[in-house]
């Protein structure tokens, strides 16, 4: 290819023009871009409305986990100590978030929608031990640190196979 001095000079005009435009950088800690409603962040465990835990300690999430980051130890519910509606409950429920790949398979495997992936992604810690989330931490209402976009903006249209059936 032969040298193209004119085209090279045009390049200088291009770079010069950018000086007068506003940078498109999003200044992260000051401005947080809203995540999608279905964004897969840190897990949450849920309770029924009557306060019982949805998790029954079946370990299906642990079995589905490709990163092997979930540890469930189940125990029997008793009349005096009823934690979940089923026969058993999760005595220990730990997620090692330093191993988790946020694939969402645990969410799919769960028969009772006890575990879902929340929207939080600001979960860095100074120590690896702090990244092992226990049941209490997962059950607790998370501190809202990440803005979430309005779900109605991202509602998918009804698929054609449902429309015509």
């Amino acid at each position: 290819m032969s040298p193209q001095p004119i085209e090279s000079l045009k390049g200088f005009a291009v770079t010069f023009r950018q000086l007068f435009r506003k940078p498109i950088t999003q200044q992260y800690p000051e401005y947080k871009r809203p995540v999608y409603p279905r964004f897969r962040g840190r897990h949450r465990l849920h309770r029924h409305q009557n306060g019982l835990e949805k998790c029954i300690g079946c370990s299906l999430c642990a079995a589905a986990c490709p990163a092997d980051c979930i540890r469930v130890v189940a125990a029997e519910n008793t009349a005096t100590n009823r934690v979940s509606p089923g026969e058993r409950y999760a005595r220990i429920y730990e997620i090692n978030l330093s191993r988790c790949i946020f694939c969402g398979y645990c969410e799919l495997a769960c028969p009772f929608d006890a575990i879902t992936l929340g929207n939080e992604f600001e979960i860095s810690e100074y120590s690896r031990d702090d990244l092992i989330y226990t049941k209490d931490m997962l059950l607790a209402e998370p501190i809202k640190r990440v803005p979430v976009a309005d779900p109605s903006l991202f509602d998918t249209p009804i698929p054609y196979y449902q429309e015509h059936s």
Binding site: S8, G11, F12, V14, T15, F16, Q18, L19, P23, T25
Partner: protein
């Protein structure tokens, strides 16, 4: 016209400090300007508008461990960056930045050292500075460094020829090798950027190559070589190399301003150093602008351009200038 020796000493201390500060903020200016040209902000975390970034960088570099390869040739390895930085800094001493003032009962020149052959001195110091890069790469005893310094050597030697030839037209028109005389001549007649436009272009292009900056940054070429001649350097030794590069850029910009844009002469107000500073800032910005725009040349393109385009043009410019001056 003469001044006592200690005034020169004071001026030297002041100029070196100003130059180092200017170097520090040139790095910031470069990152800011590059960022803006790429629709980014550039550094804006350390201090207001990122103004403390150079100092943060300095502290980081000084505190970093300066490790050395086991096989490195100690004395040369340590001396090379300091040598480069020294030659780069000392070249600025002959560049006039003002008219000269009368302070109380002493006359103060607008230049640290008024040498009658100052232009040759600058090129001599520039050539010596190359040794810092070459020896530094060679003394590291690493193949990447050696390759990098070989490239540096070939490139700088090639482009230095064009650089000196581009200046020849100015020397002929100014009828002097002293930068002070050249500036005076430009004040009497006109800025040499007009009649020596070709010389200016060649000077700028060769100057970019001489300071190892994009698009001629093959000695560093971080995407091809690991880091060129300073692969094995770290901490403040690496910082000294970087400093030498930036000071070289400032010196070359100052030289361009002095030779082609009337030095410290301004359109109005006798504020020599201020005009010099403004022109210098614009020249440095042009260097950065070039870096933001052009992609890196391939090695054979670099060599072909240097010897087959730049050198004939510079030679023709010098010859034609000589003929015109002889005819008039």
């Amino acid at each position: 016209m003469t001044e006592p020796w200690w005034i020169g000493l004071i001026k030297a201390v002041v100029i070196i400090n100003v130059l180092l500060l200017a170097m520090a903020f040139t790095t910031l200016l470069e990152r800011k300007l590059l960022g803006r040209m790429q629709l980014r902000y550039g550094p804006n975390r350390a201090g207001p508008f990122g103004l403390l970034q150079p100092f943060a960088d300095l502290i980081k570099m000084v505190r970093k461990e300066a490790f050395a390869p086991m096989a490195a040739i100690d004395v040369l390895y340590v001396a090379a960056p300091a040598f480069s930085a020294f030659t780069a800094l000392s070249a600025f001493s002959v560049i006039p930045f003002g008219e000269g003032w009368k302070i109380w009962k002493w006359h103060v020149n607008g230049v640290v050292a008024d040498v009658p052959i100052s232009l040759i001195l600058i090129f001599a110091l520039g050539s010596l500075g190359i040794y810092g890069f070459i020896v530094g790469g060679w003394a590291s005893e690493s193949k990447y460094s050696l390759l990098g310094s070989m490239r540096t050597c070939a490139q700088m030697v090639s482009y230095e020829v064009s650089l000196s030839l581009a200046v020849l037209g100015v020397v002929l028109m100014g009828r002097s090798l002293s930068l002070v005389d050249i500036v005076d001549k430009q004040i009497d007649t006109l800025w040499f950027a007009g009649p020596q436009l070709v010389g200016l272009l060649v000077f700028m292009i060769a100057g970019v190559a001489e300071t190892n900056r994009a698009p001629f940054d093959l000695p560093e070429a971080d995407t091809e070589l690991v880091g060129g001649y300073h692969t094995e350097y770290s901490g403040m030794r690496w910082g000294l190399f970087q400093m030498a590069e930036y000071v070289n850029m400032i010196v070359l910009s100052a030289l361009a301003v002095t030779l082609f844009f009337g030095g410290w002469e301004g359109p109005w107000a006798p504020l020599g150093p201020l005009w010099f500073f403004i022109k210098l800032l614009l020249a440095v910005s042009v260097f950065i602008w070039i870096r933001a725009t052009l992609p890196r040349l391939r090695y054979d393109q670099l060599m072909r351009f240097g010897w087959k385009v730049l050198l004939p043009v510079a030679t023709a410019n010098a010859v034609i200038t000589a003929l015109v001056i002889a005819a008039t």
